[in-house]
């Protein structure tokens, strides 16, 4: 008995497509909140800047934003590789390097926030 399986098709990218849009909304919300906080406030001083990021709420929010950013960037950069980089070995190497880099960035962000 054979099972007919469709191994190609646009719907294979649906999860990524959706994830890119959900992370975009998260990042947009974070941008507006932080952008307004910076623009509306007085010129930033060291103490108030540190106090802002020392708040547990902002810390968690910021790390979540960085996770969303890494996820969002992964899908976008992967799309660019798929469009312009044809040799499989080169594309795979770049993809792995990108994932490692993005993981490192998220860890770096968390490290910065919890060393205040």
């Amino acid at each position: 008995m054979t099972t007919k399986r469709i191994v190609v098709g646009a719907h294979y990218g649906l999860k990524d497509w959706l994830a890119q849009r959900i992370t975009a909304v998260v990042l947009a919300a974070y941008t507006v909140v932080l952008g307004l906080a910076i623009l509306a406030g007085p010129p930033l001083a060291q103490a108030s800047w540190k106090a802002l990021f020392a708040s547990p709420f902002i810390r968690v929010l910021t790390v979540l934003a960085f996770v969303a950013l890494a996820w969002h960037a992964w899908i976008g950069v992967r799309d660019i590789y798929m469009d312009y980089i044809k040799p499989t070995a080169v594309r795979l190497t770049l993809q792995v390097a990108t994932i490692v880099l993005l993981f490192a960035y998220v860890i770096w962000a968390a490290n910065i926030l919890w060393s205040i």
């Binding site: 849009r21 975009a24 909304v25 947009a28 941008t31 910076i38 623009l39 010129p43 060291q46 800047w49 540190k50 990021f53 950013l69 960037a73 976008g76 950069v77 660019i80 960035y105 770096w108 962000a109 910065i112 926030l113 060393s115 205040i116």
Partner: protein, 142 residues
């Protein structure tokens, strides 16, 4: 099919691109939606390559001990650094505004040709205007 793809007898010497080639990039005459689109991709790439590590570096300095903060302050006071900041801010704001346009298009809002054209101009204008606001903040106007 678009006019450009068919070519046109009346326009005569209108260029026709059958197989696109990197060398022809500067000859393309993109519609506003095309300009917004390629800038969305280019700004995304720039933000990934330079913006993200630069942002983290600045965050580390600015939230670090006093010496690190002083280093950040000195760096941020440099007019050349301000221009780099501003370039990245523009890349971010363009990506942001174009992204909102795409989210709306995904929801089938503004998909008519003239609406899409208007929203393309809006993306370019709003992102530049917001960049100007940040430029004024950056150079200490308010």
């Amino acid at each position: 099919m678009s006019e450009a793809a068919r070519g046109s007898g009346a326009a005569g010497a209108r260029p026709r691109y059958r197989n696109i080639d990197v060398g022809q990039i500067l000859q393309y005459r993109l519609p506003p939606a095309g300009i917004v689109s390629i800038l969305h991709r280019a700004s995304g790439a720039v933000l990934f390559l330079f913006g993200l590590p630069f942002l983290l570096y600045c965050l580390q300095l600015s939230l670090g001990p006093d010496a690190a903060f002083a280093k950040f302050k000195a760096m941020a006071a440099n007019p050349l650094a301000k221009l780099v900041f501003l370039g990245l801010i523009w890349a971010y704001l363009h990506h942001f505004c174009a992204g909102i346009r795409y989210l709306l298009l995904d929801l089938h809002i503004g998909t008519e040709k003239d609406q899409a054209r208007t929203s393309s101009f809006a993306v370019l204008a709003v992102s530049l205007a917001l960049t100007l606001v940040f430029a004024l903040k950056l150079f200490g106007a308010f």
